[in-house]
Each structure stands twice: as C-alpha cells, then as structure tokens.
C-alpha cells in the first residue's frame, strides 16, 4: 500500500537555525554568514570592516575553523568581541554550534554579528545558521571559474565581495564573466569589488551593511 505524504523533512540543523533566527530578531542583531574558500580574505575583510566602522556599528564575530583560535585572536586585536568554534574536523558550521557560541556572545549589544564559516565553497552553503544574510567572498587568485563550479554557494548569496582587487594586474581573472555568471544564478545579488588590504571599494560594502542593519 502506497501512502503519499509530501512531508517536509526538517533536519535538526534547520530546527536550530529557526531558533537562532528568532533570537537575532528579538535582539535586533543582523547576523551575516560569511562563506568562501580558504584564504580568500574573510578574516582580513572583517578586521578592516570592524576598524573602519568603529564608533558607528557595533560588530561581533563568531569564527569557525577546523582547528586553532588564530582567527578569533586576530578579530580581538581590533577590540571587537570574538568567539572561536573549533569544528574538530567538520567541514562547515552547524546551527547548533552557533547556538552554543551565542552563549558567550552578548548579541543584544551588537548591531551586526558576523559568522565566519569554515573555508569551503561546498558544504557550508547547505547549512542554514539562522542568519539574515549571506556573504560570499571570492578573491582574484582563486580564478574566475568558481561560480560555475560551485553554483549552489553563489546562487544562495545576498552579497558577493570580490576581494584582492589590488592584485588585478597580476592575475588572469575575467571580472565581467564572473559578474555576468553570478547574476544569472542570482539576479538581485549585490556585488562589490574590494581590497581588504588597501581599502579599495570598501565604502560601498559599508553602505550596504548600514542600510541592511537599518531595515
């Protein structure tokens, strides 16, 4: 006997993500999930953003790495609060890990909480953490074929930060091709060309952040 159900399967992760999202809403904190391959410049970008917006936007960071608290220490050097999650081998953050980290983070006193995911363009995209926005960072040395190879990650992003623009003259990276392809995957994605090193283009990203926070 066949029984038709069409029942949505909510994984443990999705249930946890819903709780996180409700908490962020009640604390009026904008939570942003930052995804990229290893070394695209996530921590550098976040550190610069914190320093440049000091006194204007109160920012905290949850850092996800397989091992070490290197990135959380870098963030604390800016004066912002940071909590490190060590995933002990897991290739992505889960909503449950974020829930636990939130126990050590005074989110009610923050305007923006960034969650820097484990460097990986595949797995993190499948795990909702309860964030209100997703940022994907793609740096020029990685090559312009990444959106084609990892479409799921780019299709689900609200913002694409194309980082390391200061290296433009040194690498072959077809910017137009990337922008065109990403827009076919997600028509309304906001795209900013930046350099976390020199500060180039960062103002447009800050404007997006402030506007999103105000909503």
């Amino acid at each position: 006997m066949k029984v038709s159900l069409n029942k949505k399967i909510l994984s443990k992760n999705e249930e946890c993500a819903l709780q996180n999202r409700a908490l962020f809403a009640s604390h009026k904190t904008l939570c942003i999930n930052v995804i990229s391959s290893p070394g695209s410049g996530k921590t550098t970008l976040l550190s610069r953003t914190i320093r440049d917006l000091q006194g204007q936007v109160r920012i905290g960071v949850i850092e996800g790495d397989i091992r070490t608290d290197t990135d959380a220490r870098k963030i604390r050097e800016t004066g912002a609060p940071a909590v490190q999650i060590e995933t002990q081998g897991a290739c992505h953050l889960s909503a449950e890990q974020v829930t636990r980290a939130l126990g050590s983070m005074a989110t009610a006193e923050l305007d923006v909480l960034f969650v820097e995911n484990v460097g990986n363009l595949v797995c993190p995209s499948a795990f909702d953490l309860g964030e209100q926005a997703r940022v994907v960072v793609l740096s020029l040395p990685e090559g312009d074929d990444k959106p084609i190879k990892y479409p799921g990650t780019f299709a689900k992003a609200d913002v694409l930060l194309i980082n390391k623009m200061d290296l433009k003259e040194h690498v072959d990276f077809d910017l137009e091709r990337v922008i065109e392809h990403v827009r076919t995957l997600h028509k309304d994605i906001a795209i900013f060309q930046v350099s976390a090193r020199t500060g180039l283009g960062m103002d447009a990203w800050y404007a997006w952040l402030k506007e999103k926070r105000a909503l």
């Binding site: 159900l5 069409n6 994984s11 479409p151 799921g152």
Partner: protein, 114 residues
C-alpha cells in the same frame, strides 16, 4: 553531501509514520532540489546502516531530483534551469528570476499490505 545526517532525519520521519499506522514500511521516495542535491548511493548507504535494528531495516530509498526552474524576465518563459549553462530556451536571454529550490520532501512510503 552530508547524506548521513539527512538519512537520520528521513529515518526518524519514516519510523514515526510507520508507528502511527502500525504498518511495516518497504520502500520510500524522497525528493530534493538542485541546490541541495542528495547523492542516491550515499544516502542509501547511510540509511541502511542507520536503519539496522529499526522498523526500517532493509528498506530502500528512491531519490527524485527536482530540477531548478527560472522565469525569463525578457520573454516570460518558465523553464528548467541548467546551472552549468544558463540561457532562456525561448529567447536566448540571460536575465532570469529563479524559482525557489525544491525542499527536501518525504514524498511517499510503500507499506506492507496487511
């Protein structure tokens, strides 16, 4: 990817449905979207192990992959979207509105006839 976790959630859902009906499940069909694809082999492998010693032992899962769809902003055509080479089959345009990706569904369970 991460089929083990998904297999566990599906197993729990099937066990619940079977218990409510007091019937033995034989087969089930699940479906997933293209942005969170499930590998058929990996999910069945993980399910088989997780199901040992439960009412679902020996069951087989069938996975239906639901294609992503998009609507062309130029000509209004709605079509199956190939994320690896996106273009509107109606007008060749590249300006689309993506439909939401299909969620993970437990579509159907076949129970043993009593």
């Amino acid at each position: 990817m991460h089929e083990a976790m998904i297999a566990q959630s599906i197993l729990e859902a099937i066990i619940q449905e079977a218990a409510e009906r007091g019937l033995r499940p034989l087969r089930a069909r699940i479906s997933c979207g293209e942005l969170n694809p499930i590998n058929d082999e990996a999910v069945n492998f993980a399910f088989e192990i997780a199901a040992r010693g439960t009412a679902c032992e020996g069951m087989r899962l069938e996975v239906r992959h639901v294609p992503l769809r998009a609507t062309c902003e130029s000509c209004g055509h709605t079509f199956e979207f190939d994320i690896y080479s996106p273009a509107c089959p109606g007008c060749g345009g590249a300006d689309f509105k993506m439909n939401p990706d299909a969620p993970l569904l437990l579509e159907e369970i076949e129970f043993e006839d009593t």
